[in-house]
Subunit: 359 residues, 2 copies
């Protein structure tokens, strides 16, 4: 019996053939079964045999073929990760501190549960992931009726995203209470004396931005507080800072600025200064941001954190429960946001320190 020519493992056609389980078995004078059991610490083997198998495997530099094990196991412990739509480009979501943190904390949570994350571009077409052995998919910030969602559901791959998919089979969700978060910011601003609020948001159909804008309008109507909404055409510092400038120019008598669109916080502070406003004396400032630079400006900037860590943690708990039980029943969870009150939104004569107020 001659050894048939084989290609190397994992895509190295012209390489020295990889050593397989059967090679170790032959070399050690044992069977595949025995070597497998020895290496995996299963079965009832004599210590001598187990050690011989292990030694041989070590000597030959044996590495089990991950794909083969996966086929056997019936799962890949791989989770697809993507963003529904990000108007600035298919990958530029990583440049947003929010998504960067969501991505890294999701990857961390996944790994703790024994899963690894596969990075997909925003709005990935199904051709870009059908060849991947995914156990589940996470879709951050899908747009309304996102085709991605349907693609994954059709492929019977359970998805984890926000509440926009509520009630659909195999669609699980984790969400923040945008309405409460926004109201909390506005209540805070109002308590500090704001009566005319300039708001800068983003011109997208993302659930967060539409919900936030809606919450602002409702709150302002209820309280009879004046407000002025300005939209940035796209995410990114350039466009958002420009929108802030427009907002400040248009709402000359605004006494507070609430920037919902993500921008580097110190830049927003600079824009306010350039517009001749002094923060917090004649303009209170709150930014929605995960950027740590907000804590290092003077005055430090109050931020509303959307709590990507919490979203990631909760999402993975749900995911693991769903994937490992095989249960199709949609599950969901609301995680709190965090308002970090700093000097930029406190009147100089300031009240008590109200930092880290969970919503």
């Amino acid at each position: 019996m001659t050894a048939s020519p084989r290609h190397g493992g994992h895509g190295n056609p012209a390489t020295v053939p990889r050593v397989r389980l059967v090679d170790v078995a032959r070399e050690a004078g044992l069977s595949k079964t025995t070597v497998s059991a020895a290496l995996n610490g299963t079965g009832r083997l004599s210590p001598a045999v187990r050690e011989r198998a292990r030694e041989t495997a070590r000597r030959l530099g044996y590495r089990p073929n991950a794909t083969a094990r996966l086929l056997r196991a019936g799962h890949a412990r791989l989770i697809g990760y993507t963003v529904g739509e990000y108007v600035a480009g298919r990958w530029s979501y990583m440049e947003s501190p929010y998504f960067a943190q969501l991505t890294s904390t999701t990857a961390a949570a996944a790994l703790r549960h024994g899963y690894a994350l596969v990075l997909l571009p925003a709005g990935a077409a199904s051709g870009e992931w059908t060849d991947l052995p995914l156990d589940a998919a996470i879709i951050a910030d899908p747009v309304a009726d996102d085709p991605l969602v349907d693609d994954f559901i059709a492929a019977r791959i359970p998805i984890f995203t926000d509440r926009s998919v509520e009630g659909r089979q195999g669609a699980h969700w984790v969400d923040i209470d945008t309405d409460a978060a926004v109201r909390d910011v506005l209540d805070h601003l109002h308590a500090e004396g704001a009566r005319n609020i300039a708001i800068v948001s983003l011109d997208t159909t993302t659930r967060f931005h539409t919900a936030a804008a809606h919450a602002c309008r409702t709150w302002c109507a209820e309280r009879e507080v004046r407000h002025h909404l300005t939209l940035s055409a796209e995410p990114g510092n350039g466009s958002v800072v420009e929108a802030v400038e427009r907002a400040l120019a248009a709402a000359e008598d605004a006494d507070a600025l609430f920037v919902i669109a993500e921008a580097t916080p110190p830049l927003v502070l600079d824009a306010a200064r350039r517009a001749g406003r002094s923060v917090p004396d004649d303009l209170l400032l709150v930014c929605v941001s995960e950027d740590t630079s907000a804590a290092h400006t003077s005055p430090a900037i109050t931020t509303l954190s959307l709590n990507p860590e919490g979203v990631a943690e909760a999402g993975l708990d749900l995911l693991v429960a769903a994937v490992e039980s095989g249960d199709q029943q949609p599950t969901g969870r609301v995680v709190p946001t965090r308002l970090e009150v700093r000097d930029s939104s406190r009147r100089a004569d300031g009240g008590p320190d109200t930092a880290r107020r969970p919503v």
Copy 2:
């Protein structure tokens, strides 16, 4: 013949069994082979049969099992991605704009070549990836003698990283010319009149930081320019800004500041202001950064971009060539960095616009 009980695909034990190729074949009254050929567009099949197979597959909601295809194909088109060491935490590298961009542009380049990226934490132990079917691994910024490198090489998984692995089998590299980049910055500063340069770097053994510090010392010695090096204990705005403050306090007569450690650029500008310096009038400023906020301050901040896009592109070209040829021969490439000269480093009476000077 009864259908044997099967568990669902990809980790759904308690689920309705997934439909397999053989199910489609049986339903359509064809063989597995025929259906496979029909679906893959291979073989010579009559249009009628091909359509029947396809229609049946569609009707049954058939999705090929990715793992099984992979086992057959012998590769997974999956690339591991990790960072050698990042002192602030295993995942916090994503909060650095440099790594965020490197990660996203690498993922983009990979996908263009038909590969997907699997995200691993900094300093991943081999237990965290041996079960993954990786065709190759990318290790960004390994530390000297990184054990990660040896682990991957031992597992016969080709790696792509920087020049620190030059010459080792299966170790390919892409690097920037740190020395030239640093000298270019210093030459620029010198040409603008700097004679006493404060430098802020990071206290790590990362190749970039050690090489950059070395280049600074050498250049300053050659030119007999005074300099003062301050180290930040860790990455992140807090620590780096504090180091900038120390640097400015210690080097009172410095006429230029070169911040090599990554910090949000507007924060550095603020720190200079708080220290009573006016940029660029009595302090020229250059930051190593990929952060877009540098372009939006006033004055706009000159940055040295380490060109993560270029690194990613070159790395993937090499990777694909190596993986698909199976060639063990180490390959390598140097990519240019980019000095974006803006107002923060131009004397007010300024010379010609020298923006986008490739090194």
